[in-house]
């Protein structure tokens, strides 16, 4: 087995450098390694095959990037595809108002971790100022009722159970009535673990579904599950139309390929992941982290380093020197911006970087004319002004604005934006890669949260709604696909 997918890929794709385009033939060996990696991570065989077909289609015809090693380029495409397939995320429990009772139901195979997850959800809801009622509907396993009662006590949450009743459907019905009396606003049903081929028990689940009409049904899936994940997930989804998946036991060393399989066969979002035995160990699911895990760590970091190199080496060195001295002029800023805006390349690489998805989206919606506007402002400044923005007073600001054909406050905003970037850039100089990555993240966060880029858009009156953005993205993808077909 390879320590890292990259190691294997670099030899498999050696012949690629110097070639113009990625083709099925020159990638074959490399893609086989990716497939092997997926299979070793427990992605189901069919899903792995399907996935590889997609990736191949996407990759074929791509220009071999000069500064990215071919294996990095391929991993980048694979990584992006994994993220896309395991997304989009939806961490909402879709709760009704507090005056209503929302019913959540958990189901899954024996030993998947349902009861613990019920406790974790209860804790989370309580923290969100909700009043959950936990329901012991596992009448099968010895002491399952006691287990839930102990958890309820630990959490200070009410637990409904009926030790005399033999029919879990009746228990669930009674519990919902009880919830109204107790003033609970969320009911969580802990059902017994069962095999998906046990028709009698699956029928029982369907009856609970019909009679209690839960708002949300979640399937808990053990992260260590192998090839069988597709079978059980499909069966549970066929019977219950599940609304989401919760992966458990991700604190271990399982690569967790089941996540991909389950997402593929059910199509429902993976909501949360259990990362420990403690009741607070429930985290929102993030496709990018999961993708890294499935591919094996380390690959993505390397990719990031290379992405950094994509900035012209010489320019980078010169820049580095200046930054070390604490210099980062508006001219440098202009250069940075124009590199980021280079169509295609940077966007592609941002997509490859963990956590940079948002940034990429921001760039997607970044209008060329806006960029030109920014550059216009900078170009209207004198060299002295560019070197020291503090010189720019009200009258200079008016002059620059007139020269660039914009409003004076836009000049102001540009300077603010530059200041923010300059701070980060000069702080970055001389830092290690990890620190840089963190800072990039901070910068990205800053820009995303009403940073100047956002405001700028508002002024041009072109702020897009999420739906519009989505449509645009779709259109772009469609156009891209067409382009590829033509080649």
């Amino acid at each position: 087995m390879f320590e890292s997918l990259q190691d294997g890929l670099s030899s498999a794709l050696k012949s690629l450098s110097g070639q113009g385009k990625l083709t099925e033939a020159n990638m074959r060996e490399g893609l086989k390694l990716v497939e092997r990696s997926l299979l070793e991570a427990d992605v189901s065989f069919e899903v792995a095959r399907y996935f590889m077909k997609n990736v191949t289609e996407k990759a074929v015809g791509e220009t071999v990037l000069k500064s990215l090693k071919p294996q990095q380029q391929v991993v980048g495409i694979v990584y992006q595809e994994l993220c896309d397939l395991m997304g989009p995320v939806d961490h909402s429990l879709h709760l009704k108002g507090k005056n209503d009772v929302t019913v959540l139901m958990l189901c899954g195979l024996q030993g998947a971790g349902k009861t613990t997850t019920v406790g974790k959800l209860g804790k989370m809801l309580k923290a969100g100022q909700r009043n959950p009622l936990l329901v012991a509907a596992d009448l099968q396993r010895p002491a399952a009722i006691d287990q839930l009662h102990v958890l309820g006590e630990q959490l200070g949450l009410p637990v409904y159970s009926d030790r005399e009743e033999k029919d879990p459907v009746k228990v669930c019905n009674a519990a919902i009535k009880e919830a109204k009396k107790l003033g609970a606003d969320v009911v969580i049903l802990d059902t017994a673990g069962r095999l998906h081929i046990d028709e009698e028990l699956m029928g029982q689940l369907e009856r609970i579904d019909k009679q209690c009409s839960p708002e949300q049904i979640y399937l808990t899936v053990d992260a260590m599950t192998g090839q069988d994940a597709v079978n059980s997930a499909k069966a549970f989804n066929d019977a219950l139309e599940i609304d989401g998946v919760i992966m458990t036991k991700l604190d271990g060393d399982a690569r967790g390929g089941a996540a991909l399989s389950v997402k593929h066969v059910t199509g429902v979002p993976i909501k949360f992941m259990g990362t420990g035995e403690k009741l607070e160990a429930l985290e929102p699911f993030h496709p990018d982290r999961m993708a890294q895990r499935i591919l094996g760590q380390g690959d993505i970091l390397t990719l990031f380093e290379t992405a950094q190199k994509e900035f012209d080496q010489e320019q980078m060195l010169a820049q580095e020197e200046k930054l070390k001295k604490g210099e980062f002029t508006l001219d440098d800023f202009r250069k940075q911006m124009s590199m980021i805006a280079k169509p295609g390349l940077m966007q592609k690489m941002m997509g490859m970087m963990p956590g940079m998805g948002q940034m990429r989206e921001a760039m997607n919606d970044f209008d060329e004319s806006e960029m030109k506007g920014l550059f216009g402002i900078i170009d209207s400044m004198t060299p002295a002004e560019k070197a020291n923005t503090k010189l720019i007073d009200q009258s200079r600001r008016r002059r620059i604005a007139a020269g660039a054909g914009c409003e004076p406050h836009q000049v102001n905003e540009l300077i603010k934006q530059y200041d923010a970037m300059a701070q980060v850039m000069t702080a970055m100089a001389g830092k290690g890669m990890r620190d840089r990555m963190k800072m990039m993240g901070e910068l990205q966060g800053g820009l995303a949260q009403g940073g100047t880029l956002g405001k700028q858009k508002q002024h041009t009156g072109k702020r897009l709604s999420n739906a519009q953005k989505k449509n645009m993205r779709k259109a772009r993808q469609e156009a891209l696909k067409k382009k590829r077909k033509k080649r």
Binding site: R36, L39, E40, A41, D42, S44, F45, E46, R49, L109, Q110, G111, A112, G113, Q140, R141, P142, A143, A144, D146, Q147, L148, H149, V150, L151, Q154, L195, H196, I197, D222, A223, M224, T225, G226, Q227, D228, A229, N231, S232, K249, D251, G252, D253, A254, R255, G257, A258, E277
Partner: protein, 309 residues
């Protein structure tokens, strides 16, 4: 139900899936063994969770001997069978009983694997052999785990030693062994809390539990069984590795083989770590345990297909 019938019960779904698929490969009399054929074969093998290397090994075995030929199903299956049997070869190894005094069995595994239930099944089996059994409720961590084992003990009419609230599992194990010696019991089975093999301190705790069992009987525990969930994928290898290291496992109980999962990761475990499978769990009741026999296991996987031909 006889032994073979029970294995059959557990493996029925397994073999159905395997056999239907293989049958599909041979729509007519014989079929040309080409790349497409080998790839279909590969899919079938991978779906057992046997892992990349064993599956590829089997495929190349078929390719080496038969590529370009038109063959009968029987031939392909014979090759696969003998290769698989070779991979899984082991002594039929039931429990190694102590020469004198109680036989101590320690049971470990990841969370939810089926440890407690498997202990109930083992206890039931020993009762059937007229052996007296003492259970040790060594899972002092999970909510209501002690109660769970206690309920099984009551159902089976065996003794269950429980420590006071908050006791250390090593103490409970010690007390269980002590009681087994005092009461002249034949077998003592110690439950442990589920843990992930990556939790270093909890794995060290397993070593401590084993050491505390040793204090009274130097060559105990006579068996340390790792319970492995049959739905587990390649992570089973890491489980076997780490539990063997920490607790000195002597064998595997493969639980939940009554589902559609094939438990093929034991092939990779066998190949890489050498840990044998001793028993197979085929249901939730206390009688749902069978002795593992690799030849039968492999034969049962393919016999139906041959019969149907």
């Amino acid at each position: 139900m006889g032994l073979f019938d029970r294995i059959k019960k557990g493996l029925k779904k397994t073999s159905q899936v395997l056999n239907t698929d293989v049958r599909d490969l041979f729509k007519s009399e014989g079929r040309l063994i080409d790349e497409d054929f080998l790839d279909e074969l590969r899919a079938i093998l991978f779906k057992t969770d046997m892992g990349y290397d064993p599956a590829e090994e089997l495929v190349s075995e078929v390719a080496k001997g038969m590529r370009g030929r038109v063959v009968q199903m029987q031939e392909v299956i014979d090759v696969l069978k003998s290769k698989l049997k070779e991979l899984m070869a082991q002594d039929e190894s039931p429990i190694r009983f102590a020469d004198s005094g109680p036989t101590i069995i320690m049971v470990c595994g990841v969370n939810g694997a089926g440890k407690t239930t498997s202990i109930a099944k083992l206890a039931c089996m020993f009762r059937g052999q007229d052996k007296s059994v003492v259970l040790g409720a060594g899972d002092t961590f999970r909510a209501a785990a002690v109660e769970q084992l206690g309920i099984w003990a009551d159902r089976l009419g065996v003794e269950c030693i429980k420590g006071p609230e908050g006791s250390h599992p090593a103490t409970v194990a010690y007390q269980a062994v002590e009681h087994a010696i005092k009461s002249n019991a034949d077998v003592c089975i110690v439950d442990t809390a589920g843990r992930l093999q990556t939790q270093k301190n909890l794995m060290t705790e397993l070593t401590k539990i084993r050491d505390s069992i040793r204090k009274q009987i130097p060559d105990a525990p006579h068996e340390v069984l790792l319970v492995l969930d049959a739905t587990t994928g390649q992570n089973g290898i890491s489980q076997a590795n780490n539990f063997a290291d920490a607790a000195g496992c002597t064998g595997i109980v493969l639980a939940k083989l009554d589902g559609t999962a094939k438990g093929g990761v034991v092939v990779a475990i066998r190949q890489q770590i050498g840990l044998p499978v001793k028993y197979v769990g085929v249901g939730e009741q206390h009688e749902d345990l069978v002795l593992f026999n690799p030849d039968n296991f492999v034969d049962e996987m393919f016999d139906d297909a041959l019969a149907a031909n």
